[in-house]
């Protein structure tokens, strides 16, 4: 089964994402911010990275850029979790190498369907 790295500084959002994905049968590893995620990503490989944008220490845009620079993550799908009001964040994420985005607020069903789209 596919392994997903879920990054969000908000504990409630992270719990929801993690439990939803685990419930759908994915292996999920969680990280509390970009810096922690980068650390984890270097020691383990993932089929998909889901990252919040606004985070302390390292934001999701920087994380995306850093991941893309790693050979192991050259082609890995990376989705940003972004709010509808932050349209420029979607593009900023894209410019940094993100595959796409999921617009907040989303419900668990929307999350799973988007993840399925990417992972096939």
């Amino acid at each position: 089964m596919a392994t997903i790295l879920a990054v969000d500084d908000s504990a409630s959002m992270r719990q929801m994402v993690v439990m939803t994905l685990k419930g759908a049968g994915y292996d999920v590893v969680e990280a509390v911010d970009g810096a922690a995620a980068l650390q984890i990503a270097k020691s383990k490989s993932f089929n998909l990275v889901l990252t919040d944008v606004n985070m302390p220490k390292m934001d999701g845009i920087t994380l995306t850029r850093e991941l893309r620079a790693l050979p192991a993550y050259k082609f890995t799908p990376i989705l940003t979790l972004t709010t509808e009001s932050a349209a420029e964040k979607k593009q900023e994420g894209k410019a940094a190498g993100a595959t796409g985005w999921i617009v907040k607020p989303f419900n668990p069903e929307q999350l799973i369907s988007t993840v399925k789209r990417v992972l096939g």
Partner: protein
Amino acid sequence: MTVDVSQFHQVFFEESLEHLANMESALLQLEGGGNDPEVVNVIFRGAHSIKGGGATFGFQAVAEFTHLVETLLERIRSGKTAISPEIIAVLLESVDALRDMIGALQTGADGDATRNAALQRQLAEVLAGAGETSPHASNEARAAPPTACPVDAGWRIQFRPHRHFFRTGNDPYRILRELSALGRLEVRADISTLPPLLEMDPEECYLAWELVLQGHIARAEIDEIFAWVEGDCDLSIDPLATPNQPASAMTTAEVRHSDDKPASQVAERRAGQERRQAEGESIRVSIEKIDTIINMVGELVITQSMLSQVGAAVHGLNDAAMECLRDGLAQLERNTRELQEGVMRIRMLPISFAFSRFPRLVHDLSSKLGKKVELKLSGEQTELDKTVMEKIGDPLVHLVRNALDHGIEAPDVRRAQGKPEVGEIHLDAYHQGGNIVIEVSDDGAGLNRERIVAKARERGLLPADGEIDEERIIDLIFDPGFSTAETVSDVSGRGVGMDVVRRNIRDLGGNVEVTSESGRGSRFTIRLPLTLAILDGQLVRVGNQVYITPLVSIVESLQVRRERVNVVAGRAEVYRLRDEYIPIMDLRKVFGINGAVSNLAESLLVVVEGDGKKVGLVVDDLLGQQQVVIKSLESNFKPVQGISGATILGDGMVALILDAGQLVNTACGNSAYAGSLSGKATVAA
């Protein structure tokens, strides 16, 4: 599969409240004149996170309200709106409103809808006045694209990925798959740009597609599939011509670029990093679980000290076995002590938890009183027991309020005295010995001695004339019902308070001292034990009983000299200790211990201090000093006058812990002290 999102509500509430607390302190920092973009970022991130969670977990009101706040913050962050005191005030109020909303959600109660609506209007006004866009301008994602109407026949799609297409993690095959789910899809690949095999770079995308998608499909559905790859491909989407909807009616749709602004330069250096790091990773554990462990460790300490005594008394073992036993016992003692310290530390929290409410309090109060005050905090990382922290909060609030109301002068008065207009209140905390010391100081007027004395005379608390020593004057402010404030404000001045402050601090086993200099300010020094669970005690023997006197309350111990004992009024005995007379309490009498009344000359006098007064306790012998684990008498038996608790000694004996404060009060308050202590406080050995 369904996931019940309500299970995440509690976590959302808790983290939202944390965000609000951070936002509040950051706002106050901004008010202090800072214009640090990192501080604004902290506030923004808090609002952003609450909004996202609120919307996700179905708290629409919270999400909408925070959206306004966030919009305003975004303006400030991007420099479109300048920070002003008014904006900070509105934001602070918004933080309060959100806190109430979340509190209401937590308890299921109704929030104050009127206030929230009023605030929401205020925010909208600030936004309208401050910039060009309306607060709802950002809902662009909801706006339907102009070509959203479904087309019956279908669409012709030219899809030409750029070479770097794969590097975004996207896959053309995914797009084809999704399109085919919408309707009947004809796929024609264009391989004209495919290079010879040897020149091919497997990481590049060389193919292009011409697609015909047939069916009753909305343009928006197709747009959504391509949304992620805009800019990574050449794309054209045209409706297939149908008899009643000629192709010319629709212009060639262009890839949407509406919200495609150049990546704004958001120099987001991570604000508040240090604070975050200080928090570290943590888990939430209920306090009962910790207390159970602490209790168990307490028992373990007792068992260990019992074993030590047994070990010391063992005879008849050979040397090797003896050494083994002694090593084992020594190690057990060391480990027990470390375990105990470690467990105690779990209950310790940095005092910043108690200090954090003051910036806001000082801000609100000083503006209400028309004073200018700067609050300085230091030693915020000093740790103390959670229970002690909870109980010290209110007394601290009282002291700070008093400092603001009575201490710090109005700006013009300060100016006239050649002081800086802005007064300073300083909260400091540090460890000293086994205690934590908290100081509340101000650079205000200091205690007004004349007024205190005048008031005290008026109330008959002091004789009408005669010299009054410094200590007594300061003591007066702790008298119940004493207040010198000329007008009773809603800040302070009702005269309830200082006596409560002192009582609360004493209940925690601490004390409070005051130093004050006219025109220079006052300093309240609170000394508290780090924890309520352990006490450094001096073991004393009275007859066949062992009592424990808290080390912190012992002033000195001395051999009684008969000639210094005087009898006052025929019944109470006092002892001349250098140049003062202190009452003597014979613990045998006090606790009704059988056996001959001790011969004073052969006894020892332990001078203890409580409530600023001293009393000499007559005991037979001083035993050792040791840390004892306090067991509550109140919860295990019932409260006993003069006794603050009990403990179990190493030999399994129960020993009572003396309450110095109560003993002193009994001795000083009533001449016939022995009669006032009800019942006997002894333990059968």
